[in-house]
């Protein structure tokens, strides 16, 4: 697809004189504190504008801002993923969308808008889930920026990028810049700095009310909505799953919650609160989005160009009373389930049985594992407990590892003596 650039109504070459005047102030000469490795001039400009491929995950509140900022900074090969479609309630802050776009793919519309507005920038949309894409897809990018509202999606992309790192191939290390509309921005260098999973216990837990309160003594509109979704929906609909993206389901919940609220003289149940409670929607503020997106894009620019030191590694914006920000280094956790723990390359004879491997692990002086349980990503090899699973996996003890794990395959080992887990890469001699 060719995009015909226009400037004041007439076609112009993509890079007209002075297009990047302000950006070039930074890239033309090193500053007093730039990294000695920074090569000012055409090479870095060419890298930024013609070689870097960047992926934006999420084309919502943060995503729209991020896409606009990247395009205007000079990134020209941008990919964007979003599984959502545009809702009318997005239009107040997701400024790449118009009323006529309601119901269409966020990724597609955002890409079209940016390409129309910023000449020479190619934005490749994908309307779907990040989980649809494999390692080869993520391998093609230099930098990945996330503007997500879901913990689950963040955990997935974080684990994927940590696992992508191949010590033999420096290209496999993809900096991940994560923005959150509660006001945080962070830089994750997978396997080098702390990862998203390292700080999982810092997250606020999802709001949940005691089930006995919502069943018996509701006092808040939220209690009525939770009652409708947690207790009433399964009671009436049995095994039919509640789809929080289905407006008819939300309407059903809203009606049930409103009736209960009426019964208990509680005010404030309405359709959008119902949707907000069941989808766990956190109110987003347009100005916070803009600041966090700017911070993320600033990091992407610094990482791509080496023109200045990048964020190390966690930035928080607190905008409740004026503008206050705090930056700190979140530490890597040794027992992090994703980036912590050890990975060992193990060369064994192709005749080795599972039982022999377990003995090897127990006897290995440097790890000293007691009662290890073993699995591959797709199946259990041997579990020490509970009794039923021990029994079910016991026949594997006499099998050869080769029958269960291909060369180069991975075995996850857990044991109470390990901080979390140990990952073994198996090769055969």
């Amino acid at each position: 697809m060719s995009v015909q650039p226009h400037f004041n109504g007439s076609a112009v070459p993509h890079d007209w004189a002075g297009r990047y005047y302000h950006i070039d102030q930074i890239l033309n000469a090193p500053g007093p504190r730039t990294d000695p490795a920074f090569l000012a001039g055409d090479e870095v400009k060419d890298f930024l504008r013609n070689q870097v491929k960047i992926l934006v995950i999420g084309a919502g509140g943060l995503g729209c801002e991020i896409l606009a900022n990247l395009a205007l900074t000079g990134f020209k090969d941008i990919h964007v993923i979003d599984m959502d479609t545009i809702d009318i309630s997005n239009l107040n802050r997701q400024f790449l969308f118009r009323q006529k776009d309601v119901g269409k793919s966020k990724a597609t519309i955002a890409a079209e808008f940016i390409m129309k507005r910023v000449p020479g920038v190619k934005v490749t949309p994908y309307h779907g889930k990040i989980q649809d894409k494999d390692d080869d897809y993520y391998m093609q990018f230099n930098i990945i920026i996330c503007g997500l509202d879901s913990v689950e999606a963040r955990r997935w992309i974080n684990a994927t990028l940590v696992n992508l790192v191949d010590p033999e191939n420096p290209e496999s290390l993809k900096p991940l810049i994560d923005g959150g509309f509660k006001g945080q921005a962070r830089v994750i260098l997978p396997t080098i700095t702390s990862c998203y999973e390292c700080s999982l216990d810092m997250l606020n837990k999802p709001t949940a009310f005691p089930i006995c309160t919502i069943a018996n003594t509701p006092r808040l509109p939220e209690h009525c909505i939770e009652w409708a979704s947690v207790l009433e929906w399964p009671r009436i609909h049995g095994d039919k799953k509640l789809d929080t993206d289905d407006p008819e389901h939300i309407t059903w919940l809203y009606k049930a919650a409103a009736a209960r609220a009426h019964e208990f003289n509680i005010e404030g149940v309405n359709w959008s609160l119902t949707q907000g409670v069941v989808k766990n929607i956190i109110p987003a503020i347009a100005s916070t989005n803009a600041i966090i997106a700017a911070s993320c894009c600033n990091e992407a620019f610094k990482i791509a160009t080496s023109s200045a030191a990048y964020l190390n590694n966690y930035f928080m914006l607190i905008g409740t009373d004026g503008v206050y920000s705090y930056t700190f280094e979140h530490e890597k956790r040794d027992d992090c389930p994703v980036c912590g723990g050890e990975a060992l390359d193990l060369s064994i004879s192709s005749n080795t049985t599972v039982e022999q491997l377990i003995e090897m692990l127990v006897e290995k002086q440097d790890i000293q594992i007691k009662k290890p349980s073993l699995s591959t990503p797709t199946k259990q090899i041997y579990l020490q407990a509970p009794p039923q699973l021990e029994e079910a996996t016991r026949p594997n003890l006499s099998k050869k590892i080769l029958e269960l794990v291909p060369a180069g395959g991975e075995i996850t080992v857990t044991a109470s003596t390990l901080p979390f887990s140990l990952s073994l890469r198996i090769n055969y001699t």
């Binding site: 990294d35 490795a37 890298f47 390692d135 080869d136 391998m139 230099n142 913990v151 689950e152 997935w156 684990a159 696992n163 992508l164 191949d166 191939n169 420096p170 290209e171 496999s172 290390l173 900096p175 260098l189 999973e197 999982l200 216990d201 997250l203 837990k205 009310f209 005691p210 089930i211 006995c212 069943a215 018996n216 947690v230 399964p234 990482i303 389930p337 994703v338 009662k371 349980s373 699995s375 591959t376 990503p377 199946k379 259990q380 579990l383 020490q384 407990a385 509970p386 039923q388 699973l389 079910a392 996996t393 180069g408 991975e410 996850t412 857990t414 044991a415 109470s416 979390f420 887990s421």
Partner: protein
């Protein structure tokens, strides 16, 4: 380009990676293989290859629910341990903290869940509900009221319901341990 990159593009695609075990999956493996359950609790996996869905049978050896076998279903999703497992009682039982649909009022299953807790803590918590039912957090209001008002009648109701009898017009499932 920060230093972690080499300027030259490496043309070779990285070696095909195998699917990796997810953090939730590893954590569940760790939780399950380190369970420290008393003889009164037993897990059952209808598909031993699926660690994320299983049931737990509690057979209290003391208290007013002694002699019963209570079966709970556990469903764990990919966001474990950020989110707690979904636990339900699969039988219709007469208990102040369990409603007729099998919902369970146990604080660590909802509002007090933390990722540092594990499957063992939930199982111990469930067993505790049978040793010390809590009339202050009722899900079955009738039962809770009876328990605080008239303990002897409540005890009778418990026995009756566990045999599959009905209490106040509601028929309960027989849960007598075989």
């Amino acid at each position: 380009m920060i230093k972690i990159w080499s300027m030259k593009k490496n043309e070779d695609a990285a070696a095909k990676k195998k699917p990796k075990t997810s953090a939730a999956q590893i954590r569940v493996q760790k939780d399950l293989t380190e369970l420290d359950l008393p003889a009164t609790m037993k897990t059952h996996f209808s598909d031993p290859a699926d660690l994320l869905n299983f049931s737990l049978t509690i057979t209290p050896d003391e208290g007013m629910y002694r002699g019963g076998a209570f079966v709970f279903s556990f469903a764990i999703n990919a966001n474990y341990p950020h989110e707690p497992p979904k636990v339900k009682c699969t039988q219709k039982i007469y208990h102040p903290n369990v409603d007729l649909e099998g919902n369970v009022c146990l604080n660590i299953l909802r509002e007090d869940w933390k990722p540092v807790l594990n499957l063992n803590s939930i199982m111990v918590g469930l067993q505790y509900l049978f040793l010390e039912p809590n009339a202050d957090d009722p899900l079955n209001k009738e039962a809770a009221m009876e328990m605080s008002k008239n303990r002897d009648v409540f005890l009778q109701h418990v026995k009756q319901s566990m045999r599959g009898g009905s209490v106040k017009g509601i028929q309960y499932d027989s849960v007598i341990a075989r």
